[in-house]
Symmetry: C2
Subunit: 171 residues, 2 copies
């Protein structure tokens, strides 16, 4: 369960965290928190939405909307793109998932509920994506915004480079 399972072999993304860890455990824990948050906020975590989040968590990497759709369709949900996009958009709005623009993909948020300005580190060799909190990045961005009178509502920060494993192999 731990380690580099499935890294970058099939789709848009690789594993979500670089370090080895208990995958089933972290997915279950995140799912539980997502449910608690939805209940608290009144957001309706319906079957499609819940299943979409589970799919992202189980894949444990960034998935394209059409990849998610395949899973959903195979399980009896609709098989047209809006089904996946709507569920994914909902999750992103609720802070339960993130959109990785560089990959045209989506990944489950690993720290739902915690106030965080996530930064994504994307390995150009294996497509693995790691999410890291980066309050300092948000502060720096807002400082720059203040200088030109811009009010920031959301930020996207994505860094492309090499993850530890690929850096070792490639260099």
């Amino acid at each position: 369960m731990a380690g580099a399972e499935g890294r970058g072999t099939t789709g848009a993304g690789g594993v979500v965290a670089f370090a080895a860890h208990d995958h089933a455990h972290c997915a279950g824990e995140v799912m539980a928190r997502a449910e608690a948050l939805s209940a608290a906020s009144g957001a309706r975590l319906t079957p499609v939405r819940r299943r979409t989040l589970e799919i992202l968590l189980q894949a444990h990497r960034a998935l394209g909307a059409y990849e998610v759709l395949e899973h959903l369709a195979a399980e009896g949900f609709g098989n047209q793109p809006p089904v996946a996009y709507r569920a994914l958009d909902f999750l992103v709005e609720q802070g339960l998932a993130h959109r990785i623009r560089r990959l045209n993909a989506f990944a489950a948020c690993m720290h739902p509920g915690e106030a965080h300005s996530p930064v994504f580190f994307i390995c150009r060799a294996c497509n693995a994506v790691a999410e890291a909190p980066a309050e300092a990045v948000r502060r720096a961005t807002e400082a720059a915004a203040a200088g030109i009178g811009f009010s920031v509502e959301r930020t996207t920060v994505e860094a492309l480079g090499l993850c530890p494993a690929c850096a070792e192999v490639g260099a």
Copy 2:
């Protein structure tokens, strides 16, 4: 020539800078620097590529690849997508233009040659895009990367919010 001309009326982007300024002047200056840089580095700023950069500068906002293509085709260049994408990719590689992922669009770099980690501020009301240097953001990102052993090669930082003009009107 100065002011909010054409802001967000036709395409993917609005004006590139929020503040009023002499548009023809800044475009000309940037173009001159782009030529000098290309000459110095040996990069071949061919007619299509040069014209593509001019189109971005003249539009003074973020343009989609197909918008650029329309201009190019109207001037006798090829009218198929690869023509635009290749020219735009070249400009991005040379640091003469930037890709704005949130808008699926491209904008001329306003500070070519200067080492900079640009941050883009995108107004959600008028789609205007401003490019600002943000060395502090880059440093903060690399500090976070160091914590997980990731080596950063390129970063994308895009902030969505309201530009000064829209904030005034809307609020």
